[in-house]
Amino acid sequence: MGDRVQIQPAHLGKASIQVKADSNRDVLKVLLETDKSAGISAITGVDLGDKIGLLYHIRTNGAIVTVSTEVPKEAPKIPTITDLIPGAHFHEREVADLFGVTFEGHPNPARLVLPEDWPDNLYPLRKDAKLEKVSVKTETSKDQPEAVQPQSDGRLVNIIIGPQHPALLEPEKFSLQVDGEIVRNVEPRIGYVHRGVEKASEQRTYLQDVYLVERICGICNSCHSTCFVETVEKIMGIEVPPRGQYLRTIILELNRLHSHLLLLGHAGLEIGYETLFQYMWRDREPVMDLTEMLTGNRVIASSITIGGVRRDLKETDIPKIKTQLATLKKKMDFYQQLFENEPSLRMRTRNVGTLSKDDAVKLCVVGPVARASGVSMDVRKDEPYEAYGEIPFKLITRTEGDSWARLMVRLDEVTESINIIDYALDHMPQGPFRIKVPRVVTAGEAVSRVEAPRGELFYYVKSNGTAYPERVKARTPTFANIPAFLKTAIGGNIADVPPNFVSLDPCFSCTDR
């Protein structure tokens, strides 16, 4: 393609390619066709003054390749790539919402995260956006009727789940069009939890941002802070001391443990098996105690900081952690039996919401959802961060692709996490656990990925050489996994919606940011 394409030294993943807007689509097509398992991790918009930069982060062969292009701010237009890779659907809508870029040929260019009556031509992530006096009156979208209304032919009935619904812990809305018992269409309306974190992080210092991004999601908080600080450390060229890396690994795995146990319990609640919920949450409490012992807080750990961790591990705590986890491991054998043999649990989850491997690749799903469909993908293996490169562990995959498999993957990962923590405690290096870093970050940009409990978490940070970041982008696992729900719910039974939905482990505070 000659002068239209420039390959630059790798700073945004494995390689970064600069292209003109008109050949962007061709380059992406080549990339996506070379590797059949390639998918899109994120599309980042960046305000470059009179232009808007668009960064397509493609996940290919387990690494990230970034294709960047620029469109004029006056009339930002670029052809859609949803026909090349359907997983780009939500990514494009998000950039359209927040930056005002038109993706020509997009199948459904509706609002995604902003309220329905948000003023036109006001794009919050542009640097010149005046956001002080925006008033939003209604929360409901104009085109979706509130009540249950039959369609014109009298067959399809709208059932609206949310924003306040017992099955949802978070306020989001899903309109299901039902024909008898069969779901014919699902319209998601997210954005109820959109708090504008990406914009807010530009107005805070890097250190303040660690606490802000941690509060994107209270469940996988340590993953967010780790991913953010890793990106910043990459820009600054800092190496975290080995002890710091091991401590981070332990905190991340404790995070995964509590998140997986939480979800397995929640799944019990959704399928009408409340005893399982109570049991799981009872067994989750020791993990919360360990997190509190190690970091000082039960939920939001606030322990990871730029250059290492904030607290050291006491030698006397190691036996306590080991005994607690050994007890939990024994209990997991019981749950393993239960999930494999309990007929009511199997009936509610087996062959429910089956996602084929092809669809999983096409929709670019991540984490346990992808692994349950046979896609072997785990950032801890593909691009080891922290101490994961030195720790042996099994990558859990299954081939069934149904709700049951998604729960089983998590169940097995709990045992693996316990093994990882055990190994890390046994091989804990001595030495400092953090290093001092300057407040001002050198100019540059970087991307980083972390395997959060729900899957690949992606961060992009651009620094302009001050104490405040120029742009922070977070692509969370649930954002990538929603298409899987839309795909698998359609054609299924309406009673299967809750188990199917919960098996994706949706987290909307992550999704909306």
Partner: protein, 147 residues
């Protein structure tokens, strides 16, 4: 007769949980309350899915602009007397998200609040303490709207 009603309410307050834009941190602690270690059902507290049956509204998280109307509507659907507990720093004042472009602020910007439980997130013990304090104050307190 009102004495009897107060007694009944004190012994079994039904609570509704609404997340108006939280990070899930407070939410999982609210759910943890129902599970064996904390078990608030021993105070007769029962989580109720419908606003029309609830006495106490437990709100978590900052109120986003998109959620504000809904929060008001849920509050209006609850029967009198009704009480609101704001759980966590964000629900109390907006927390780290105060001042963001899609955020209204704390819960008290939208509906009246009876009890504030600060913390990020508050420990389950703190939430129990807050709810029990609210229950104790019910003996004398007048419900919302009749202050």
């Amino acid at each position: 007769m009102s004495k009897l009603a107060t007694w009944a309410r004190l012994k079994s307050p039904w609570v509704l949980h609404f997340n108006s834009g939280a990070c899930n941190g407070c939410d999982i602690e609210v759910v943890a309350l129902l599970t064996p270690r904390y078990d608030v059902e021993r105070f007769g507290i029962k989580l109720e899915p419908s606003p029309r049956h609830a006495d106490v509204l437990l709100t978590t998280g900052v109120v986003t602009k998109q959620c504000a109307e809904r929060l008001k509507r849920i509050y209006e659907q609850m029967p009198e007397p009704k009480f609101v507990v704001a759980i966590g720093a964000c629900a109390c004042s907006g927390g780290v998200f105060a001042g963001n472009y899609t955020v209204t602020g704390g819960v008290d910007k939208v509906i009246p609040v009876n009890a504030y439980i600060p913390g990020c997130p508050p420990k389950p013990e703190a939430i129990i303490d807050g709810v029990v304090k609210l229950l104790n104050s019910l003996k004398e307190a007048k419900p919302n709207g009749k202050k």
